[in-house]
Amino acid sequence: MSQQKTELAVAALQHGTVIDHIPSAAVFQVVKILGLEHTDHAVTIGANLASAKLGSKGIVKVADMFFDEAALNRIALIAPSAVVNIIRNYEVVEKRPVALPDAIVGIVKCNNPKCITNNEPMLTKFDVVSRQPVIIRCHYCNHAVSGANAKIL
């Protein structure tokens, strides 16, 4: 059922951004990373939709908002399978997978309570040590965490 409806819903967006192929478990983290909890723009969130690739997927559609490269790439941390569609005049003008940067700054909280980043007013920084599966390591205390378990600030 949902496959067709999802396609329709995407097509219904006049201008904006659609982030598709998000693992269902990560949908609300994607919302948080993009700061959509505080936006006035129309946001459609779908979760547990049927997906041939993922079994179950989520989708986030935001009207009239276009995100910078860095913001979209942060999503790769928790949803490396995600695909970004840019919509203008009901047309998908750009479609590309998210890309994980080499370093992730100011996004993830370190799990180590004795880490300097949890005790000093400063930005966190993680180095990507593995891409599949995603594993990141605190630049300061060296504690490693998987992308799926990363705590988003």
Partner: protein
């Protein structure tokens, strides 16, 4: 910026490690070279460690440098409530080099990002302690005449022991064979075994501190097994004596074998080992002075061989 800092042994190359060993050798022969004349070194011990502080301060004093700093942050009002960044910035106005120990992990790395003054990490929580690693390497180099192709047995707490993890990182350049000897609860973490595999480092893993392991070793590196590491106190009582070394166990060991331990020991090495010529832990601690003189001169960009 800050290229002469030493935060983690993993930051420096094989050539830099060999350079530090040559410097340490030089300072062992010339411990009182006055080559730090006019230099001010700050020793900031946000966490007390008398052993490490005395070693660093002796190293500076014997090289003719001056020392400022604190050994107990509780007595230093400026540090109370002040951010690490502000303390480092303040001290950077006065010192040519900062040696720091901190209870928070990553503190030294962060310090290198807020100042151009070189930083030497003298321990950041459970994370890194590179001067300990350098003195371990120097002790191995000195007693074996080389670093390559050695069989090194690590015993005790391989899970939390940062010194043994740093040893793996540093030895990757020198084709070592490791034996990991520990109880199941304190076994070498998976990520370090993966590191060994990725670097082509041979290792065996056993919970049995057996004659076979001892008699095939060039170096036995003992570590403290601490009660607080165990969730079950009975487990601690069971294993603490299994990973203790007694003189009789060394009867058929190699002539070149040396026993190392980062000190202080509790009961991992019986006092009856102390008089065995293979016991090296007290001299090992003394090597810390030369290793730290090497690290300090590198950090200040001073080449003792050109003076």
């Amino acid at each position: 910026m800050n290229t002469h800092s030493l935060v983690s042994i993993a930051d420096i190359s094989k050539e830099e490690i060999l350079d530090l060993l040559e410097r340490a050798k030089y300072f062992e022969q010339h411990p009182n070279s006055k080559i730090l004349d006019g230099k001010v070194v700050a020793t900031l011990f946000f966490e007390p460690s008398t052993r490490t502080r005395l070693s660093f301060e002796t190293a500076v004093n014997r090289l003719g440098g001056r020392i400022i700093g604190f050994s107990d942050p509780g007595t230093s009002s400026s540090v109370k409530g002040e951010t690490l960044k502000d303390t480092i910035k303040m001290v950077s106005n006065y010192a040519d080099l900062i040696v720091m120990r901190h209870f928070l992990e990553g503190a030294a790395r962060y310090a290198t990002e807020v100042t151009d003054v070189p930083i030497i990490n003298a321990g950041d929580g459970a994370n890194q302690h590179p001067s300990q690693t350098m003195l371990d390497l120097y002790s191995i180099y000195k007693t074996q005449g080389r670093l390559t192709d050695l069989t090194i047995t690590l015993v005790g707490d391989l899970k939390y022991g940062r010194t043994v993890h740093s040893m793996l990182m540093a030895m990757k350049y020198f084709k070592p064979r490791f034996n990991f000897v520990a109880s199941h609860e304190l076994a070498m973490p998976q990520e370090y075994k993966e590191f060994c595999r990725a670097e082509g480092i041979q290792f065996t893993e056993t919970s049995d501190f057996s004659p076979e392991v001892i008699n095939s070793s060039d170096i036995i590196y003992m570590t403290r097994v601490q009660r607080e590491r165990f969730s079950d106190p009975l487990e601690y009582e069971r294993v603490k004596d299994l990973y203790a070394l007694h003189n009789a166990m060394l009867a058929n060991s190699r002539d070149n074998l040396r026993i190392l331990h980062p000190l202080p020991r509790v009961n991992e090495i019986d006092v009856d080992v102390d008089d065995n010529p293979k016991a090296y832990y007290f001299e090992q601690a003394r090597n810390g002075l030369f290793a730290r003189q090497a690290i300090i001169t590198r950090a200040l960009g001073i080449n003792p061989f050109e003076l």
